[in-house]
Each structure stands twice: as structure tokens, then as C-alpha cells.
Amino acid sequence: MSRIILTLALAASALALQAKDIQKVVLTTTPQMHCQKCETKIKNQLRFEKGVKLIEVSIPEQTVTVTYDAEKTTPERLIDSLKKIKYTARTLKEGEKASPASDNSSCPR
């Protein structure tokens, strides 16, 4: 009996993992991120979005890399979410670099 339960559990886990369509998108923002506060604000906005799995922010590279479940969210939804905290975001194409961080940016309030 216990073997059957274990086999079923393993099969269910494998199916659940297979069903997920995990993808990665790299965003850059306007205004630029220039401090710890900007980073925290962006992370706090995105981490509660449905389907988001991981967020990596690089202020020097001006990138927000989001790993997400494509069945639950889309890059467009993530961009819309950032609008709520007054950041306009766009996706970076493969190999594209964002404008480097400049000192004259400021955090939106």
C-alpha cells in the first residue's frame, strides 16, 4: 500500500513540475534604479505577483531579471505591475544592454 502511495506521489510531483513553464525575462526601468531603496521597492512590488519565482536586481547593469511561471503571468503583467509604483519598464532583447546607471536619477515617490 505504502509503495503505491509513494509511486502516486512521485508521479504527481513529476507531472506538476512538467506542467510548469518556467521562463526568464530581463527588464530595465525608467527612471533608473540608483539606490537600495529603489531595489527594495521593485522587489517588494514584484515578489507578490502571481507566478513570480525569483527576482534578481542589478543596479549597475540596470536590470531586473524575473524568473516566472509563464502559465500564471506574462512580462506584460509584470511591466503593468511596476507602473503602479511609477516605474516604466521594458524587456531587454537577448544581448541588449541597458543604459548604464547614471547619478542624476531619482526614486519615484
Binding site: 531595489e39 527594495t40 515578489r47 519565482k53 527576482i55 542589478s58 543596479i59 549597475p60
Partner: protein, 661 residues
């Protein structure tokens, strides 16, 4: 190696700033994402650490005292069941030798000292800065074992509202609120509120006495901040009212005594402060600042047939000038004045009845800091003060930090501290004992503290391992000691005649991973001795060692947080026991080592978070904490000899709401 150096330097440079938990650094071709520790070393020459909000969220932290639950350096005493007086210990010595400050203003002195740690609600805290050993002379002469400086949430923080509610299995309910408003550009205002109450009384050991006082507290603070290019202002006021009821307030075997022994404390505290700074030259950090505060503290205490009332007034002012001659040379100089008045009325055997204490202490100080890039910083300061009660005295202090190689910090410090003792105000909770409280003629306390510390931080990619070893020695020249040993029918607050010292040695290692796990393991040895009745003895009720292990894990998106704190408190000496009316001895000669385990889980949502946990999950309790509870009116009664938890395991749940943040 280059990236490791740069990471360390970035970390050091930010070590004194309010923290968020994750940082990203670009170092040549490397991009490193790292989680910053929630407790971090002070960046200057002083030895110590700063506890950030992330650390405070690891436990319930209902008040300042409970904020040190996860900390290896600061011990939190167990509250006595009569008054709830709960002190911390730093370097093995009582909290009275730590200078308490609120945002760099000396605070909670005299009658407020025994209960100070429950006057600061945990949810109001932004950070706590703990300086060990000799510290700066800027804030006065009182720090002997160090300073604890509390930073409250700031008016200039993001506008919005946070609400917090907490409830535990002891039926304590707490509610906290803080709100920030940006009035006009540059002008911000903040309101902080706190209310707590307990809805039932517990007597888990069935001795007819409540295990802890039933405390009802209301606490309110209003703060303002204005800043412009050349002028910065902070100001605020606070009020506190507290009612504490303890003693025979619970039913015992179905009935209450006709003439119950009650311990009632009613406290009212009013406080206001202001800080003004004129900035003359930002490039050279040239500024002139005026800091002033005033407080009134009224306590009316009843302890069976004894009573103690105090009206304490304090006024403090400081004028401070600072200037950087260059990046390497900084000078700070200033003048201060402190005025204390304590109008007291004591009803107890052989007590003085009405007693007025007044002291005015003006002083001058100068402090020079030398910095040689990131390798060396030296801080030397001296102050001269004149007490209207004790005359002139000088306070020299010296701190050094040397970084001979990357990641290795060496600290050394030496300094003197003084303290005027207000024995009835600071030890009024001892009136709950059936033993007579005897107060001898006391002098101003004076002690030297010497310290040395070696810290090494090792970075491997985005992970960090930090080793720390430290030693402190405090040598009292004059001291007021609480003597339970010389006279078994009395507790004597006596002037030290002989030696009194404290040696503490601590080793701790902290691991911070990039994937959300952090852990601290620490071990500290205490050797605290004083001369009681001509004999050098270990300080009673002081653990000989403390071992601590904390584990914290946050999921990748920090939606869940799991925290565990395990402490093993070493045993220690009990005061000399006395014979009870039934022929038994009041207690054993020593108390044993005992474990304690706290667990908490937190779930974060966009606008709120829920936390739940348990404290003292090992269930260890001090047996018979109230001695001779069957007859509290007798001389044999004593509820003040507490070395361990009185409650068993306790569970709690809390919720925090954020609006507009």
C-alpha cells in the same frame, strides 16, 4: 581577491546605514547578489553592533527587552513576578551600567531604569545600536559597560500607516500603530501609538501569586523632522501611562485571601526633546548642534504594607560642534548640562520617609578621530564634569580599529565611566521582599573598562562567514552593590569595600548565505565577582556562561521566514540561603544550567504579514520562584530571587498591516 575586497569595503561603508536585506554589487566583471546580515558590526573605531529591523522581525519583539532574544552579547533577565522588573545584562553586568539612549539622548534613568525595556514598544524600533566597552564621550560619562542607542521609526520614512496586533497564550493583547505624513517638502511628521493589556491572571505553579504582573500600558509619541540645505530639526514628545497589578490577585484553591498581598505600580511619564543642527560646510562636515530634552516620571508603588512614590524630573542639554579638517582628521567638541531631581516618599521599616535628591552636572568634552583610509581609525576623547554632589571628575576614553589585512579587524578600547546611584528609585522593586531594604551612604560609582576584539570576515562568492572573538574587563573603583549575603534578614545596597570586577570572553561565528539561510553560533564565559561583607564572591543570579544558536531561513522571494533560537544559560551562584519557618532552606546554593527554545514563522503578503511562534518551548521553569508564598507578610517572603523563566511554554500570533507603503 579583488571582488572580495570590494565587497567587504562596500559592506563596511554601509554598515551603519539602515539596512535592507539584499544588495547587489558590480565588481569589475562580477555581479554579486548578496544578502546582508540583519545584525552588523559598527563601522567606526567603537566595538559593537547594530541590530536592524530584519533581526527584530525574527522574534515577537513586543518591547525593547525582547528585542535581544536572538543576540549573543546582550542577556535579558527573567522578569520577577512581583513587579515585572526586567533588566538586560551587557558584559555580564546589570543594565544600569549600560547607558540607555534614545537617538543619542540619554534616556530612562533613575526610577525608569528597572522598567525601561518595557517602555519602548518593539514595533516602534527602526534599529538598536549597541556599543560595548568604552564608547564616545559625546553622550556623557555614564556608560560603563557600553551604550544602547534606540533608533525609532523616522518621520522622514515613507509616508503611510502600519498597524500591528499581537496576542499570546498568556492573554496579553497588544496593538501598535505608526503613521508618517509629509506635510510640505522638507517637513515630516510621525505618530506612534501603543496599547497593551492582559485579560487574565496566571498562577501556573499554584502558589496563590500571579506569575507575572498584569500590565496595562498606553504609550504615545509624536515626532517632527525638518530639513533644508543648512538647517536640520528633529523634535517630539511622548507620554506613557502604565498600571501594573501583581501579588495575590488570583484565586488560590477556589478562594482569595481576605487581606491579599498586593503589588501595585502606577507610572506616568512625559517627555519632550528637540535637536537643531546648523550645517556650515557639508564638504567638511562642519556643523553646530543643540540637543535638549526634558522628562517627568511619576511612580506610585505599593508593595504589601510598604510603599514608594517618586516624582523624577530631568533636564538635559548639549551643544556640539563638529568639523572634518580633512578626510583623516575630525574634531568634536561641546558642552552639556544634566539636572536631576527626585522627590521621593518611602514607607518601609527604617526608610528615610521623605527624601529629595538633586544633582546638577555641567561638563565639557573634546573628541578627536583619526582615520587612515580603511586601515586605521583612532578615537580619543576626554570630558570634564562637575557634579553638585560629587565635585569634579574626568572621563577619558580611547578606541582603536586596525585593519591590517582585508577582512581582518582588530579593536581595542579603554575608558572610564561614572554613575550617580539613586538607590530607592533604581531598586524600589526590592521592596516587594519581606526582607528589610537597607540603603547605606553611597558614593558616585566609577569603573574602568578595557576591551579587545578580533573579527575576520570571509567572503566566498555571495556567502559570508564571520568569526569574532572578544574579551572585556570591567574594574570597579567605587560601586553600589546589592548585597543579599551579609545579612540574611536584609537586602543591603552597600558601598563596595574591596574588589569588584567582570571578565567576559565571547566567541561567535555567523554564516550568511545567498539563498536565504543565516546562522549564528556563540559562546560566552562570564566571571563576575564582587566583595560582599568582606568576601569576594561570584555575583549572584548571574550565569557563568551562555551558548546560543540561531537559525533563520527566508524563501527566495522572502514570502516565508522561519526562525529558531536556542539558548543554553549556564548555572550560577545563588545568594546565601536562609532558614524558612518550616525549617527548610530558602533555596539551593547554586542554580542549574537550563535550555530555552524559541521558534517563529512569518508569512509576508503585499499589504500585511502574519507571524506566529512559541517562546520557552523547552518548558523549563524555575521551581518556587516566590519564596514562602504562603505568608507574604512575613520576613521569609521573597519574590525577587529570580534566575530562570517562571512561565512554561508560551505561544503567540501577530499581524502587521501596511497601508500606502
Amino acid at each position: 581577491m579583488t571582488w572580495a575586497v570590494a565587497t567587504f569595503m562596500s559592506f563596511s561603508a554601509m554598515a551603519d546605514e539602515p539596512s535592507d536585506s539584499i544588495s547587489t554589487y558590480n565588481l569589475e566583471d562580477y555581479v554579486v547578489t548578496k544578502r546582508r546580515p540583519s545584525t552588523f558590526a559598527l563601522s567606526g573605531p567603537e566595538t559593537g553592533f547594530k541590530v536592524g529591523q530584519d533581526e527584530l522581525f525574527k522574534a515577537a519583539c513586543c518591547n525593547l527587552g525582547e528585542s535581544f532574544t536572538t543576540n549573543p552579547s546582550v542577556d535579558v533577565d527573567y522578569a520577577d513576578p512581583a513587579t515585572g522588573a526586567k533588566q538586560i545584562k551587557l558584559l555580564g553586568l546589570a543594565g544600569t551600567y549600560v547607558q540607555m539612549m534614545s537617538e543619542n539622548i540619554p534616556d530612562f534613568r533613575g526610577a525608569a531604569a528597572p522598567f525601561a525595556f518595557r517602555y519602548v514598544p518593539g514595533p516602534w524600533l527602526k534599529s538598536i545600536r549597541v556599543s560595548k566597552g568604552a564608547s564616545t564621550v559625546k553622550n556623557g560619562y555614564e556608560a560603563i559597560t557600553g551604550q544602547i542607542d534606540v533608533e525609532y521609526l523616522k518621520p522622514q520614512d515613507d509616508p503611510g500607516v502600519t498597524l500591528n496586533a499581537y496576542f499570546d497564550s498568556d492573554t496579553r493583547l497588544e496593538a501598535n500603530a505608526d503613521a508618517n505624513f509629509n506635510i510640505v517638502p522638507g517637513l515630516n511628521m510621525e505618530v506612534l501609538g501603543h496599547a497593551e493589556n492582559r485579560f487574565s491572571d496566571h498562577d501556573s505553579n499554584g502558589n496563590g501569586f500571579a506569575d507575572s504582573p498584569s500590565v496595562r500600558q498606553f504609550n504615545f509619541m509624536n515626532r517632527w523632522n525638518y530639513f533644508s540645505e543648512r538647517y536640520i530639526m528633529h523634535a517630539g514628545f511622548s507620554t506613557l501611562s502604565e498600571r501594573s497589578r501583581a501579588g495575590q490577585i488570583v484565586s488560590h484553591h477556589g478562594h482569595r485571601p481576605e487581606n491579599p498581598f498586593l503589588i501595585n505600580l502606577d507610572t506616568y511619564r512625559y517627555q519632550a526633546y528637540m535637536k537643531h543642527a546648523l550645517v556650515f560646510d557639508r564638504d567638511h562636515g562642519t556643523n553646530l548642534a543643540l540637543i535638549a530634552s526634558a522628562s517627568m516620571h511619576q511612580l506610585d508603588g505599593l508593595y504589601g504594607i510598604k510603599s514608594y512614590s517618586v516624582n523624577e524630573k530631568n533636564v538635559y542639554a548639549q551643544l556640539m560642534f563638529e568639523h572634518d579638517f580633512s578626510e583623516s582628521h575630525n574634531i568634536s567638541a561641546g558642552a552639556s548640562i544634566n539636572y536631576d531631581y527626585l522627590g521621593q516618599h518611602i514607607v518601609a521599616p527604617d526608610a528615610p520617609g521623605r527624601l529629595r535628591e538633586r544633582e546638577t552636572t555641567p561638563g565639557l568634552y573634546a573628541q578627536y578621530t583619526f582615520r587612515l583610509a580603511e586601515q586605521l581609525s583612532v578615537m580619543a576623547g576626554i570630558r570634564g564634569d562637575h557634579s553638585s554632589s560629587f565635585g569634579w571628575f574626568a572621563t577619558p576614553r580611547f578606541n582603536l580599529k586596525w585593519t591590517p589585512v582585508d577582512g581582518l579587524d582588530l579593536h581595542a578600547s579603554v575608558g572610564k565611566g561614572y554613575r550617580t546611584v539613586h538607590p530607592w528609585a533604581e531598586y524600589n522593586y526590592l521592596l516587594a521582599s519581606g526582607r528589610q531594604l537597607v540603603v547605606e551612604q553611597l558614593q558616585q560609582e566609577a569603573a574602568w573598562t578595557y576591551g579587545a576584539n578580533v573579527a575576520y570576515t570571509w567572503h566566498l562568492n555571495s556567502e559570508q562567514l564571520k568569526f569574532n572573538i572578544e574579551y572585556f574587563y570591567t574594574d570597579f573603583k567605587r560601586q553600589a552593590i546589592v548585597d543579599y549575603d551579609s545579612d540574611l534578614s536584609a537586602i543591603t545596597i552597600a558601598a563596595l569595600k574591596g574588589k569588584s570586577f567582570s571578565h567576559t570572553a565571547q566567541f561567535d561565528v555567523t554564516y550568511t548565505s545567498s539563498f536565504g539561510l543565516s546562522a549564528t553560533a556563540a559562546y560566552r564565559l562570564n566571571d563576575v565577582k564582587a566583595t560582599y561583607g568582606g568576601t569576594l564572591l561570584s555575583k549572584p543570579l548571574t550565569s557563568r556562561y551562555k551558548a546560543l544558536l540561531t537559525l533563520s531561513y527566508k524563501t527566495p522571494l522572502e514570502l516565508w521566514q522561519f526562525d529558531a533560537t536556542f539558548v543554553l544559560n549556564g548555572g550560577g551562584r545563588m545568594p546565601a540561603p536562609y532558614r524558612l519557618p518550616n525549617g527548610e532552606m530558602s533555596w539551593n546554593d547554586c542554580f542549574p544550567a537550563f535550555p530555552s527554545l524559541n521558534l517563529q514563522v512569518t508569512r509576508w503578503f503585499r499589504h500585511f504579514s502574519i507571524y506566529a511562534g512559541g517562546e520557552n518551548l523547552t518548558g523549563f521553569r524555575q521551581k518556587n520562584p516566590i519564596v514562602w508564598a504562603s505568608d507574604p507578610w512575613s520576613n521569609a517572603f521573597d519574590p525577587t530571587v529570580i534566575w530562570g523563566p517562571i512561565h512554561g511554554a508560551m505561544a503567540y500570533i501577530g499581524i502587521r498591516f501596511n497601508f500606502g507603503r
